[in-house]
């Protein structure tokens, strides 16, 4: 119980801090008045229309990535799985770079193209891994993800070689991850979309426990293994694709957070998934806060911050696991 309270408190503090602090420095009194809709209009707009939705979106995306990572680790029965393992990031990258190279304009051009690219990668990897009828081979799934990812990197290189350099560089910055496109609109859209796959994954927490024993034991303990694998794969992939569409590709949250949670909460998904959601959200809010403020007014790609936090933490966790 105490660990849940600590986690909830950390999440709350992170969210409040993300609204209170930013590259534009306001006294806390002004922030509080702005939250209530009172004060100088630009301050109110910054607090209510930029910081608040940005913090919430970062929280939802971080939480979704962590839940996805934890679920995929059970699906492929490999603790090193992360949301981008299955070729999805490569597909998204090709989509984004292609959209910019082809000058598919509009403010939503890059996110939509990235999502389409991710969906294509999801479909291709799935098709590769489906053997005889509808049996999904998770080993081929892994292999397919690696192969599709490698192909995507090559395709990105080819597109970049023949496209205007600055625009493609900007596309790569977008892929590195940023919450600068956050708005209440994006929060509502992402939230409405993510509820279904998140709910599906959570409702599968018992079969996920069973799957971590192996497919045969899971089947004999009542899991509909083939259906389970399909729902897991598509739930996790669609959730990640949605995260990519609002924030680009942000690494390490989906890998490191499930592991941190496993150490404290254990490996029973009933507790693991919700804890991963809250911790992933908290970590992302903190990382985005650092990205916005550490070198203000210059903003870092949030994926750089999550990697800078995530890699040392991960090294510590692995050492602790070995010890």
């Amino acid at each position: 119980m105490i660990r849940w309270l600590v986690l909830a408190a950390a999440a709350l503090v992170a969210l409040v801090a993300a609204v209170a602090v930013g590259p534009a420095r306001f006294p806390l009194v002004d922030v509080w008045r702005a939250v209530l809709g009172d004060g100088e209009p630009t301050t109110v707009a910054i607090v209510r229309d930029l910081r608040a939705p940005r913090a919430l979106l970062a929280f939802c995306v971080g939480g979704s990535l962590a839940v996805t990572g934890a679920s995929l680790q059970a699906l492929v029965r490999n603790p090193l799985a992360d949301p981008y393992l299955l070729g999805l990031s490569g597909g998204a990258g090709v989509g984004a770079v292609a959209a910019i190279a082809l000058r598919l304009g509009g403010v939503w051009g890059v996110p939509i193209a990235a999502t389409v690219g991710a969906l294509v990668a999801i479909a291709v990897v799935y098709r590769l891994a489906v053997v005889t009828g509808s049996v999904l081979d998770t080993k081929v799934l892994l292999l397919g993800g690696v192969v599709v990812g490698a192909f995507a990197i090559a395709a990105m290189g080819a597109i970049m070689a023949v496209s205007p350099a600055p625009q493609v560089r900007n596309a790569l910055l977008w892929i590195l991850g940023s919450f600068s496109g956050s708005s209440w609109q994006a929060v509502v859209l992402f939230g409405a979309y993510a509820v279904l796959p998140l709910g599906a994954l959570y409702s599968l927490s018992r079969p996920l426990d069973l799957l971590s024993l192996g497919e045969d034991p899971a089947r004999f303990l009542g899991a509909d293994v083939e259906r389970l694998k399909r729902v897991l794969y598509f739930g996790a992939s669609l959730l990640t694709a949605a995260a990519v569409s609002v924030s680009g590709i942000i690494g390490f949250v989906g890998l490191v957070v499930p592991h941190a949670v496993r150490i404290v909460w254990g490996h029973i998904h009933h507790a693991l998934l919700p804890a991963a959601f809250v911790l992933g959200g908290t970590l992302m809010v903190v990382a985005d806060g650092l990205a916005r403020t550490a070198f203000a007014p210059v903003e870092l790609p949030v994926g750089v911050v999550t990697a800078l936090i995530g890699v040392p933490v991960f090294v510590l966790l692995v050492r602790r696991w070995q010890g």
Binding site: Q73, S203, S212, G214, F220, L221, G222
Partner: protein
């Protein structure tokens, strides 16, 4: 027949794309309170037949039923409340404690989101106790010996509160004491709890000591079926295993000894 759990009539199974069927016209029944073994050499189709009996594979010919209903048509969750299976291969991908693994046996009885109830905790305790594994409950499964791990898995199958207990090669990597302990436990559960027991093994001598009936598989077909004393003749064993043997008897149970070259 209310006590009839497994019922296979002339089942065959051919893997997609395979030239010959892996299982050919096998008949098999297992009733409550009896222990039946499927024996045979490696590759004789034992596990394939088991998968047909458990509804994992749909027979290409014949009829495989569990408690009167086509095996493949059982919803997986309902089937898991009826049959506890100790599968051949099982390797947890993440560290778990023995008690958690046994609690997984309650999952077929739980709703998708409901927490384990008192009745589930009691079933777990009872199953651990029944398998003399109470002291293993807090151990990480990775630290268990082969025999302890098998006892925990049998306890999990019991926690399912099933009507049948199925074990696929349960003693392959165990030494004499542990293989005897596991099979004594299974035989006792079948006798005392009235479960239907089905054992898949290539250890014919061991099976002969414990089971009521057995089916000897040879290249997918049942070469012989019946009580051990009727089935395990020199002729059958030499043909099936392709090696000269001598068959003796221990208190009425046939036991065979493979011969060295030139011993006959």
């Amino acid at each position: 027949m209310a006590g009839l759990i497994f019922e296979a009539r002339g089942v065959s199974y051919r893997y997609p794309g395979a030239a010959a069927p892996a299982v050919r016209r096998v008949d098999l029944t297992v009733e409550a309170g009896e222990l039946v073994a499927i024996v045979g050499p490696n590759g004789s189709g034992k596990t394939t037949l088991l998968n047909v009996l458990l509804g994992v594979r749909v027979p290409s010919e014949g009829d495989a039923r569990v408690a009167g209903r086509a095996a493949a048509q059982w919803p997986k969750r309902d089937l898991a409340r009826l049959i506890g299976v100790v599968a051949q291969r099982e390797e947890p991908a993440f560290p778990l404690r023995a008690r958690q693994v046994v609690l997984f046996g309650r999952y077929p009885h739980l709703g998708p989101l409901g927490a384990p109830r008192d009745v589930d905790d009691r079933a777990v305790m009872r199953a651990l106790e029944r398998c003399d594994a109470l002291d293993l409950g807090d151990r990480w499964v990775a630290t268990l010996s082969g025999g302890e791990w098998q006892r925990v898995r049998v306890a999990r199958a019991l926690a399912q509160e099933p009507r049948a207990l199925v074990l696929d090669e349960p003693t392959t990597n165990l030494d004499v004491r542990h293989e005897m302990e596991v099979l004594e436990l299974v035989a006792e559960l079948v006798r005392v709890e009235g479960l239907a027991g089905l054992l898949v093994t290539h250890q014919v001598n061991l099976a002969a000591r414990f089971v009521d009936r057995l089916v000897v598989l040879d290249r997918g077909a049942a070469r012989a079926a019946g009580a051990p004393a009727d089935v395990l003749t020199r002729e059958v064993l030499e043909e099936v295993f392709g090696w000269p043997v001598e068959v003796g008897s221990w208190r009425g149970t046939p036991q065979f000894v493979p011969l060295r070259r030139g011993e006959r």
